[in-house]
Symmetry: C2
Subunit: 455 residues, 2 copies
């Protein structure tokens, strides 16, 4: 019997809950995003549950929302991912550690070196979520008046990737001899000077750190646009996405893996992991009640703003406690408008409840019992909507603990999620090959790995 | 009786030994610079000995030396300090953690955020060694043809400091209310938007992390030039320096503290900590023998290059095993030339031994018994040559363990070094005040702290 397709699970940990009401939920730690001892406990719990990775999103500015919503948001402060993850590396042993870092507002020498350092310190557990930065306000914190144009951001990102991976390959894997007798520390023939001069970047090299344990830390991408999908197909080994139905997930999955095949990459060398909020309880009703309670903690004004945007229509005149009235046509996205109308009709939610849902978290959510949740996850996996999920928890610690205690054993029982880590590195967990050094190829084996098949 | 002046001790841990022969010394770990488990053990040992701080120097390029020397150097690779120190923060509790970061090749938003994150994660133990970067090759790794001009580097550094400290003060210490009932996470009146536009930098802010636990991480400086001393006097709270005699130390100490007084800063609010190698043994002879053995591990060619530079004369024609011949006058620095000649006459070292000394480590060194070393340290302290030292160890682990087991207890016995940490933060260890927030002054107490007295 062929082995079952295996689910890969990342945990979305910045913010620790994407739901804006989470910090007010009974039993939550209001400062959890920003308290190392809580984050340590969460990482250790996720490791006990054999998660593939702990993932930190990142923003290089305070979120660009009106101050009246911002002042209610628990996401306003958090740790720099590349500072938090080394600390978590020291208190965990196996779980992967994926940090987001921007190609628009950083320098490839810094990025190559920091991820290489994290990879060495963690014993091969680092991953880089390569983003071009979504929040345009970041530009103002880095000496620019405006965000770099979208296409240009991605062209710079592509070159940035080449430079970073070139720097990681500065030293052959066996460059450091450390021969105490002869006094030779490294073999100069195993040092490559990059001498990169391109459209956006010029970087001499070599990097002042040995090649990462994983060869290269795992490359992650989260772009949604055509350019974003294309760079993912060319470079990424894991992809975060925000598809809220299985049909949309399947379309995205087929598109990105198709792009990989077109350029000769093996589609198995990328794991696609949509973001999903999972709320588990002992009955479906209890889970739905918890979600309703969580939504009720979102301030109505913040919710109204989200609802009005989705409808393309000012919702502040509606009766908060009545049903959603007929909405006239508008210029807004027809899909988001129709999604809200469908949700209202299906659930009989009031205007207030709809607003709070949209202001809280409105992406893909699995809300139910261990069995219904495992059914949905398995369906996505088997129907090629995804290779797993980037799970976010509705509130913490309880929502995370519930997932670990209830959903993970059910997935394990079905044989679609590991009961033990098989390897030591994030590449091992994700089933990804270790890239060969592009400047020092071993003659013994042909270059069939992800890196080689790209060039 | 007035309390005795107290010694402050930092440990110079990148490279773990400055001595280029260290990795070959019997019992040494050849990969110690680059092995997290060793660095963790060293940090924990230093903490048991109640060191003020663990210090990581930094370079943004491979050291600029000829490949024939470089290939013998154990310093060629090492961790990025801002990646290593968070990992060490997670496995220590009290010791300060000082990372070097460059104002020439980084962005103030990144630096402010990373040090703030480290300060929160470590519970107030972060320090920033603000450098303009000494290795000119770094420029080539950051898209530049040449190193920025010295004066300009320091002007940018001064503005960079203002921006970073301004960003740290983005939030009042009590900005985060986290009121679960009302749903208000922070008080918008306690948020300051920096809106900095200067000659070198323009940064809007606010920083997306709460004010550091220490208010500001401790500011450290290591500049030696006039501009370097001046920025230290204006901004620094600890200073690393490389003075190799007590007389030179006293002159530097008086100069920098005098500059502080001239601009109205309290000279006690800066600790001057010269770098010193300490090699301790049970007799002076044994200590000297160990040093000779260590020096003998330096490759003669690397040593010759250093000796020739110091003498301003090609030393490769000399008999390696004979005494230093008469050296004709030259254009080289008269001081360094005379220092070598004096050393040769005083010690009867051969040309080979002199070369190996200079190629190994030729700065300030205390080599002797616990008593002679404590005598020298105490003399520097009492004669105002320094407020303590940045100790480097000749070889590790033995040299570090010997210092901790033999020298530290002698210093404690004399009442000039702590037997327990008194406070929790690096500021506490160094006896430095916590800077008040420049945008949110508490009316209760006047602004007499370091930060306030500068403005
Ligand atoms: C799960 C997930 C996580 C993301 N994390 C980040 C992030 O940490 N920082 C960021 O700037 N953008 C992040 N993004 C946004 C993407 O990088 C990207 O900007 C967005 O999907 C729009 O795509 P495009 O840039 O290709 O137009 C994330 C997206 C998803 C789906
Ligand atoms: C103990 C000590 C540590 C230093 N650490 C660094 C360092 O990590 N990185 C760096 O670029 N320079 C370092 N320096 C060099 C100084 O930053 C400075 O460049 C040098 O002392 C020359 O002074 P100037 O820049 O004022 O001319 C250090 C100097 C000393 C004495």
């Amino acid at each position: 019997m062929a082995a079952k397709r295996q689910l890969h699970l990342g945990a979305f940990m910045r913010p620790v809950s994407l739901h804006t009401g989470a910090w007010r939920y009974p039993g939550a730690y209001p400062d959890a995003n920003f308290n190392f001892s809580h984050l340590k406990r969460f990482a250790q719990t996720l490791e006990r549950a054999k998660f593939d990775a702990f993932f930190m999103a990142d923003h290089l500015a305070v979120l660009n929302m009106p101050i009246d919503s911002l002042k209610r948001s628990h996401t306003v402060t958090s740790f720099d991912p590349l500072t938090l993850l080394p600390a978590l590396a020291a208190v965990t042993e196996r779980i992967g550690l994926v940090a987001t870092a921007s190609t628009t507002f950083d320098q490839p020498y810094h990025i190559a070196r920091k991820f290489a350092s994290l990879d060495h310190i963690s014993g091969g557990r680092a991953g880089w979520n390569l983003v071009t930065t979504s929040n345009p306000d970041a530009a103002l914190n880095f000496g620019l008046e405006d965000h770099m144009e979208h296409g240009e951001r991605y062209r710079r990102a592509r070159e940035f990737f080449d430079v970073v991976t070139g720097l990681w390959d500065s030293w052959a894997d066996d460059a450091f001899i450390r021969d105490v007798d002869s006094g030779i520390y490294f073999d100069p023939d195993k040092l490559h000077v990059l001498n990169h001069k391109g459209d956006y970047l010029s970087v001499r090299g070599p990097l002042n750190i040995a090649r990462p344990i994983q060869g290269w830390p795992v490359i992650v991408q989260a772009g949604a646009s055509d350019a974003g999908r294309q760079i993912a197909a060319e470079t990424a080994e894991a992809v975060f996405t925000a598809q809220s139905t299985l049909a949309a997930g399947q379309k995205f999955y087929a598109d990105v893996k198709g792009r990989m095949e077109k350029i000769g990459r093996n589609p198995d060398h990328m794991k696609i992991l949509p973001a999903a909020m999972v709320l588990v309880a002992d009955s479906v009703q209890e889970a739905q009640d918890k979600r309703a309670r969580l939504d009720s903690l979102v301030h109505y004004d913040s919710g109204l703003a989200s609802l009005s945007i989705a409808l393309g229509h000012d919702a502040s005149k509606f009766d908060p406690d009545g049903p959603l009235p007929e909405i006239p046509e508008s210029n807004a996205s027809k899909t988001s408008r129709q999604n809200v109308i469908d949700l209202a009709r299906k659930t009989n939610m009031t205007v207030r409840q709809l607003a709070q849902r949209l202001g809280g978290y409105s992406g893909l959510a699995f809300v139910g019992t261990p069995r219904t949740i495992a059914d949905e996850m398995q369906e996505w996996l088997e129907q090629r909507g995804s290779d797993g999920f980037t799970v976010n928890f509705p509130y913490l610690p309880a929502g995370l603990d519930d997932f670990v205690e209830k959903v993970v054993p059910e997935l394990q029982r079905r044989g679609i999620f590991r009961t033990e880590y098989r390897g030591a590195t994030l590449r091992d967990h994700l089933g990804l090959p270790r890239p060969e050094n592009q400047f020092f190829r071993s003659d013994a084996k042909p270059a069939t790995h992800a890196a080689g098949s790209r060039s």
